[in-house]
């Protein structure tokens, strides 16, 4: 029994190949919902600040005056609270883990969202007039 077990294990080990991979040269395994890193879309952010308030580790900083959104990658724990809280789909969770780095990374994005002008009101009135 013992010999049989051992032979089975030896054969499986010989034919199976290595169980580990050479990270970071080979990318880490990821699943469909792996929490890798947060990605920010500056074109849709309305500077509401929910993400920075919900962040449990204080990694997100929103500078409303200078119109900048910052994330400290070393503080971020990829919990996904900001992604769940964002009303405008500006934040998404990507499955790839953030690559290993040797320096502290603070990413700074200028918010490019432009509030639409108000002319929307005028054509409406015109339209309403035509209908009437």
């Amino acid at each position: 029994m013992g010999i049989f077990q051992m032979t089975k294990t030896v054969l499986r080990n010989l034919s199976g190949g290595p169980a580990t991979r050479r990270y970071p040269a080979v990318a880490a395994r990821k699943g469909p919902i792996t929490r890798g890193h947060v990605v920010f879309n500056p074109a849709t952010c309305r500077s509401c600040g929910i993400c920075s308030r919900r962040c449990p580790s204080g990694a997100i900083n929103l500078d409303k005056e200078a119109n900048f959104w910052e994330i400290d990658r070393m503080r971020c724990i990829a919990c996904g609270e900001c992604v769940e809280g964002c009303q405008f789909d500006s934040l998404t969770m990507e499955q790839e883990y953030f690559p290993p780095v040797v320096d502290r990374v603070v990413e700074r994005y200028p918010i490019t969202y432009v509030k639409p002008e108000k002319p929307a009101k005028k054509p409406k009135e015109e339209g309403a007039g035509e209908n009437a």
């Binding site: 077990q5 294990t9 990821k30 699943g31 919902i33 792996t34 929490r35």
Partner: protein, 359 residues
Amino acid sequence: MPERIIVPFGPQHPVLPEPIHIDLVLEDEKVVEAIPSIGYIHRGLEQLVQKREYPEFVYVAERICGICSFIHSLCYCQGIEKIMEIEVPDRARYLRTIWSEYSRLHSHLLWLGLFADSMGFENLFMRSWRLREKVLDVLEDTTGGRVIQGTCKVGGVRRDIGQEKLDEIHRGLESFEEECRDLGHVFLNDTTVKNRLRGLGVLSKAEAYDLGAVGPTARASGVEMDHRETGYAAYGDLGFKPVIETAGDCYARCAVRLREVHASIDLVRRAIEEMPEGPIDVKVRGTPEGEYFSRAEQPRGEVVYYLRGDGTKNLSRARIRTPTLTNIPSLVKMLPGVQLADVPVVVLSIDPCISCTER
């Protein structure tokens, strides 16, 4: 009478990368006394409860320990829910049970690997850890995190598992159980391993009880004590019998954990079969006011959270008692009489987690 010498063991030592220091008083090669000291990695996480809002503290609780992280967050959430009188939906309770048992599987397989390594059986160490990787893959696919799951929250869970994934997990359990059985066969029946572990570091039932041992350390000495019996999460519905061994030596502690692996697989299987439909969380309003002792069974034993809220967003006090802390007196009792070469094996047999202990 031989001369006594003191050998300092740790904080850097060959057992595991966790800083515990033990002064071993030796007569020749034999230990006559062990004096432990801890305090190398105190992080003050209990104090942090006054700075983080109560729903945010779940993330801190989870990071107390990297191995039993899910059960830490579960125990914390359970305490807050009792204080605020929140009824958790059934599906959330079942999901919590599945993730708790997967945490236990991954912790026990990690321990089995380290235990084999402490005996010098490196091949067995690698086999255990390769098997553990399957457990981690399931955790990653269902929660999004391999080690820190981050799915427990006050009022329920943050993620659901779809029926397809549940079926897939259920199907995978059969081959996984088979592989665990093969692995257990080596641990329990291999002559070398048996000779190394039998009669080593014996703790009698009375000693285990008196010294307040918990978890597999207590159960290997015949103390029938498993907190899952009280029926928190879905354990009450699933029914549960603790795994008991009576010898009280390192072999018995290994056997208890191996049998618990199978008990966990069985619990996961039944939880999937009886999984109720419904919501996974309830909306939480207000702030906790009151106090509660929350308890849960971790892979290493019973964890106790004392939580006190004063009606503000921050709790006023949290006290966390982790299983390793209560198992250290048992360890000090086990060590006298063993050879110096066997000390790593005996120390590891209580599954020490010093990061937990010092918080």
